[in-house]
């Protein structure tokens, strides 16, 4: 597992080592060591849960700045549909797009349209190919990584089609090229609700290289854009997406367009893990398709958004309604493309980061040791040792990354033991002195 890039990182100066985050990480990827949180790289799935939970705002996402679009002669903005729901009532999609152009982008290619393409491609995929049931959506990169880390048995259930972001980026580049812009001068920037998307650009899913050149957080572009919206009131018709694409910003949006299927939509990582657990045990046989999103409410609940997710959802639904949508009708593919263009070229591999050892026999031995250590710990799951649970500490110890006395209770026991031994020791005098004492006693 060499140098896996992560968008989620820690601002050391802000972290006070409070251990709030360690219990909320779905993959137990955080430890507090020497007073600072530390993310275990190969375990982190960039879900952003720790960004939300940190009271000090010490967890953050690395993204590109708006300044960086200047590196390119033709910067293109790819707004996630989530962006449309961030502003106050009366803000239209046209206004948002006009604002982005005003901020310096040469073009805007809506990711909502990318989502429409993906709906179409998914429909074709279902018709043409066999996949193990239930098929699981690949749209949320945090969920895809959760599966690679915690549910490797379900890797083949993942729908191997591009995400709306990738589909949009590909189309944007294709169109710019047709217009005669040299591709090395075109920079495509995704305006993102989450850190996981940035990670997915750096470590592409199902492809060797992403079509996206940079990722800007919604929370970073919000301010500049907000200040501009008032002047964009009379913007012309710029929106090309329909309601079906816009709906992808909220959970349930993706499966709307997969007609005649028994689909299930689940959001929030804890809930997602629960559903996946049931899938593995064969409990959900009647379900054909699972739309799973890491954030509560879907991407409107993304860690890099600004607006309250429930408010944002209401707005998205209203905007989608206004845009109109073909009911039961899959959108057409853009001219000059075929559905296969938007499917993966690379196989997804599991990431066996949870196993105790590469050698099974050794792993079993370690598991025995782990159980023994776990039994000896107080079982309070207090987190003072810097690990999320007593079991996690036991696991760290057998992996050689922790120590029994990291546990404050164990430490106290050891200190008490030591004190006892010291008392016992102090009553024992060296034989030479002993004799003297005896003599003294006799006198």
């Amino acid at each position: 597992m060499t140098s896996y890039f992560h968008a989620v990182t820690l601002n050391k100066d802000k972290c006070v080592g409070c251990t709030n985050c360690i219990k909320h990480c779905p993959t137990e990827a955080i430890r507090v060591k020497e007073g600072k949180a530390k993310i275990i790289d190969e375990r982190c799935i960039d879900c952003g849960e720790c960004i939300r939970i940190c009271p000090q705002h010490a967890k953050m996402a690395v993204t590109n700045t708006l300044e960086e679009i200047k590196r390119f002669r033709y910067p293109v903005a790819l707004p996630a549909p989530t962006l449309y729901g961030q502003f106050k009532a009366g803000t239209t999609v046209d206004m948002v797009i006009a604002g982005l152009l005003e901020l310096g982008f040469a073009r805007v290619w809506e990711v909502a349209r990318g989502a429409e393409i993906v709906s179409r491609v998914s429909g074709e995929y279902f018709r043409e190919k066999e996949l193990p049931k239930p098929v699981i959506s690949s749209a949320c990169p945090a969920v895809v990584r959760l599966i690679r880390v915690r549910f490797p048995e379900l890797i083949n259930n993942i729908l191997p089609v591009d995400s709306p972001m990738e589909a949009a980026a590909r189309m944007a580049k294709m169109e710019m090229e047709e217009e005669g812009c040299p591709l090395d001068e075109v920079g495509v920037f995704f305006i993102s609700p989450c850190a996981a998307k940035f990670t997915a650009v750096k470590n592409p899913i199902g492809r060797r290289k992403s079509f996206v050149d940079g990722v800007i957080a919604i929370s970073d572009i919000y301010g500049p854009l907000y200040g501009m919206l008032e002047e964009m009131k009379g913007a012309p018709r710029l929106q090309k997406s329909t309601g079906s694409g816009i709906h992808w910003a909220v959970s349930g949006g993706e499966m709307r367009l997969l007609p005649k299927r028994s689909s299930l939509s689940v959001d929030g990582l804890v809930n997602v893990a629960h559903v996946l657990e049931d899938v593995v045990m064969g409990k959900l046989k009647e379900v054909d398709f699972i739309e799973a999103l890491a954030c509560v409410g879907g991407c409107v609940g993304g860690p890099l958004t600004v607006e309250n997710p429930f408010m944002a959802k209401t707005r998205i639904v209203a905007l989608a309604k206004r845009a109109g949508q073909p009911v039961d009708l899959l959108p057409e593919l853009p001219e000059g493309t075929k559905w296969q263009d938007f499917t993966w070229t690379e196989n997804l591999q599991p990431q066996a980061v949870l196993k105790l050892d590469d050698d099974l026999a050794e792993a079993i031995r370690k598991m025995e040791a782990l159980d023994e250590i776990h039994k000896s710990l107080p079982g309070l799951d207090c987190g003072s040792c810097g690990a999320p649970t007593c079991r996690a500490l036991a696991e760290d110890i057998v992996r050689g990354q922790g120590n029994e006395v990291d546990c404050v209770f164990k430490l106290r026991e050891k200190v008490a033991e030591l004190a006892e031994r010291m008392v016992a020791l102090s009553s024992k005098l060296p034989p030479s002195m002993n004799e003297k004492k005896q003599k003294e006693g006799k006198q």
Binding site: E277, V280, K283, K355, L356, A361, A363
Partner: protein
């Protein structure tokens, strides 16, 4: 260099209660997690998860209670599901897909479609079942890595 068969196997046992639908699946879930940490292949984990879950559900639905046990060594996983209960009068019939003795109210909950035993047999590399009317049932399954699976 490492003689795999000489490793002491891990043995864990979970009690399973009759009619406890709320906790049903917990034992299978824990066994699954263990297998993942030990580094078994996705295929083995998948088959073991389905087999243990079906076995656990059978105890919950059909018996008066029992236990689920997993014995894990590097070469294979042996799952034993043993219960006290009415037993299965005709084991051969019960092995046919679709045959079920689950009472109506349990079928209405979506369980007991009669796929349990055949499902378990298809997931396991070795499968044996013994049942005694009025006493109980014991299912023993062995699962190991097979060649075809990468």
């Amino acid at each position: 260099m490492n003689d795999k068969s000489r490793v002491e196997p891990i043995k864990i046992r979970f009690p399973v209660e009759q009619g406890d639908f709320v906790r049903a699946g917990e034992a299978s879930s824990k066994i699954k997690r263990l297998l993942l940490q030990l580094g078994f292949s996705a295929d083995v984990i998948r088959r073991a998860a389905i087999a243990t879950y079906e076995a656990e559900m059978n105890i919950v639905i059909h018996s008066w209670g029992g236990f689920l046990e997993a014995e894990i060594n590097p070469l294979k996983i042996i799952i034993t599901a043993q219960d006290k209960g009415p037993g299965i009068p005709d084991v051969e019939l019960a092995m046919e897909a679709g045959y079920s003795t689950a009472p109506e109210h349990i079928r209405e909950m979506g369980f007991g479609a009669g796929m349990g035993l055949p499902n378990m047999r298809s997931c396991a590399n070795e499968f044996t079942i013994e049942s005694q009317a009025g006493k109980g049932t014991r299912v023993k399954m062995a699962i190991w890595e097979t060649e075809e699976q990468a």
